[in-house]
């Protein structure tokens, strides 16, 4: 072999040793900024197939993720829920920073698939249909919880999870907690804090806390005197037996 080629080989090795600490540090910084969050494992390989796995490994994971997402959409149109979930699993594993994928996966599971399961004409037993419906809610919840773990800096998924707990699970304590967490994230919707208080008002044992929060909103100004806020203030004032002199006058139309 040419002597220069051997020396060049040695130079590459030395360069490799010199760049290694810098690259490790850079990789850690990238991860801290939420880059390279995709986890490539055998489970993913089985879900998306060998060629797609190879393409994803080769730096084209967003394209593969899009393909899976579009396929999941087509499967939703055909109401093939199981296969749709597999495609969504692949898409979110490849693009864990894509809020849209987590949001849509959770929505299809908790709202569309769960309703389809409840209305399944092939299952005559209502208990089993309700059980299947709850399982789909849990799947939706799982997507949102994992989505939040991957995107703790984005308020959208907290908002969706709070909504899911409120609308499907009717778990107002969890909903209140989630909306409260949402409100702390930069860029959160303005209603998140208020929704947290509304939900807390329905969480047994937390009425006093909710009342204090709602009072604070009320005294912020006229813009906060929204019908739902007034409704819950009125309800809590009755429930907590607030002395008349401390009560806030609720207009009759907003009274429960």
């Amino acid at each position: 072999m040419n002597r220069r080629v051997v020396i060049a080989f040695g130079m590459l090795l030395v360069f490799g040793a010199l760049r290694m600490p810098f690259e490790r540090q850079l990789e850690a910084e990238h991860k801290a900024a939420y880059f390279h969050g995709a986890k490539f494992d055998l489970g993913l390989r089985e879900q998306i197939g060998q060629m797609a796995f190879l393409a994803a490994l080769s730096g084209f994971r967003s394209l593969v993720a899009d393909g899976l997402y579009l396929h999941a959409h087509a499967l939703w149109e055909r109401t093939e829920w199981g296969r749709m979930k597999l495609n969504f699993d692949g898409a979110v594993a490849l693009q864990p920073r894509c809020i849209l994928f987590w949001d849509q996966a959770a929505w299809h599971m908790a709202f569309n698939a769960s309703i389809a399961a409840y209305e399944d004409k092939n299952q005559p037993r209502e208990a089993l249909r309700i059980k299947a419906q709850r399982e789909y809610w849990k799947l939706g919840e799982d997507y949102l919880v994992r989505g939040i773990a991957n995107n703790p800096d984005n308020p959208t998924l907290y908002d969706r999870l709070g909504f899911l707990y409120r609308e499907k699970f009717k778990d107002h304590c969890k909903s209140a907690e989630t909306y409260a967490r949402c409100a702390k994230v930069p860029g959160a919707p303005v209603y998140a804090k208020r929704f947290a208080a509304y939900e807390l008002a329905q969480c047994p044992g937390h009425e006093r806390e909710a009342y204090e929060q709602l009072r604070t909103f009320y005294f912020m100004g006229k813009d906060e005197h929204l019908p739902t806020l007034l409704k819950w203030l009125g309800k809590l004032q009755e429930k907590l037996e607030i002395p008349p002199e401390q009560k806030i006058a609720i207009p009759p139309a907003s009274n429960p």
Binding site: L57, S62, A65
Partner: protein, 296 residues
């Protein structure tokens, strides 16, 4: 009697000579009709844009950006590898290399000129692709805005307009495109290095593609090498070779996350770009080192 023209002093390094070789290389590559791929690129993104028209605007923009930036990555990489792998073998075959080196042109200038020619080509290609991408994205954004405002009073639309604008363009797309360019430049430098000692351009292309693939899993090998206290010595040697010889291409694969709105801090972008730049310079210099001793 006319005076003989004064002999110009030969400079050790002449930017004019480098620029002449670079522009000539660029011209040669353009004559190979490499820009026909632009037609394919435009078809791909306009096609994907039409295909997703039934989806929500967030989904449309997401797919459009993914397809466009993914296609930019693929095309610039292919262009970098194929154009660079052909440079030296073609010049040797055409005997152009001997004509140039017979003149007082140092090998460094020749190689630098050739390499800069490829870098210019990549720059033009990525600029054209970015322009097509921006035009299609802007058109889609305007369509989404027009659809949203149909029959709705403007005062009720503020939030929706803000959402559409935020989903379409974000300032991080530019660093993403710069990183795609740097990655392609790195692949070109690596291919040039390989072609300085390779016996055929097919070998150069295949090796470059393999290095590209391994480069994306290099961090796994690196971590396994650094964490392996109990692995067999042969495995450890293999891991060391992979992690030391192969570039870490995941460091330059940020566009997948940028496209979904992940912000890249300026300092982190600068560090990443610096790493890309160091790779390009180092591979070029090692390539020159091998080329300078090559028997032609």
């Amino acid at each position: 009697m006319t005076a003989a023209p004064a002999a110009t002093k030969h400079k050790l390094f002449s930017p004019a000579r480098v620029s002449a070789i670079a522009s000539n290389t660029l011209l040669e590559l353009v004559r190979l009709k490499v820009f026909y791929f632009m037609l394919l690129f435009a078809l791909l993104i306009i096609g994907s844009s039409a295909f997703t028209s039934k989806f929500s605007f967030q989904e449309q923009f997401q797919v459009l950006k993914d397809v466009s930036l993914g296609a930019m990555s693929i095309f610039t990489w292919l262009l970098a590898v194929l154009a660079t792998a052909m440079l030296l073998p073609k010049d040797i075959e055409d005997r152009t290399l001997y004509t140039i080196l017979a003149k007082p042109v140092p090998r460094f200038e020749y190689l630098l000129g050739k390499f800069l020619g490829v870098l210019f080509l990549l720059f033009i290609a990525i600029s054209l692709m970015s322009a097509v991408f921006v035009v299609v994205l802007y058109t889609r954004e305007q369509t989404a805005l027009a659809e949203a405002s149909r029959g709705v009073p403007p005062n009720l639309l503020t939030d929706e307009i803000r959402q559409i604008r935020a989903s379409a363009f974000n300032s991080n797309l530019l660093p993403g495109i710069v990183i795609i360019y740097l990655k392609a430049a790195l692949c070109a430098a690596l291919t040039l290095l390989l072609s300085t000692f390779a016996s055929s351009w097919i070998f150069t292309i295949i090796t470059s593609v393999v290095v590209y693939l391994i480069g994306h899993i290099q961090p796994i090998a690196r971590e396994a090498y650094l964490a392996s206290a109990t692995v067999a010595p042969l495995t450890k040697i293999f891991l060391a070779l992979v992690s030391l010889l192969i570039p870490d291409l995941t460091a330059l694969s940020l566009v997948d996350d940028i496209v979904v709105g992940n912000a890249i801090p300026m300092l982190l972008f600068a560090k990443t770009a610096a790493l890309g730049g160091i790779y390009v310079c180092f591979y070029f210099l090692v390539g020159y080192f091998v080329f300078s001793g090559k028997e032609l």
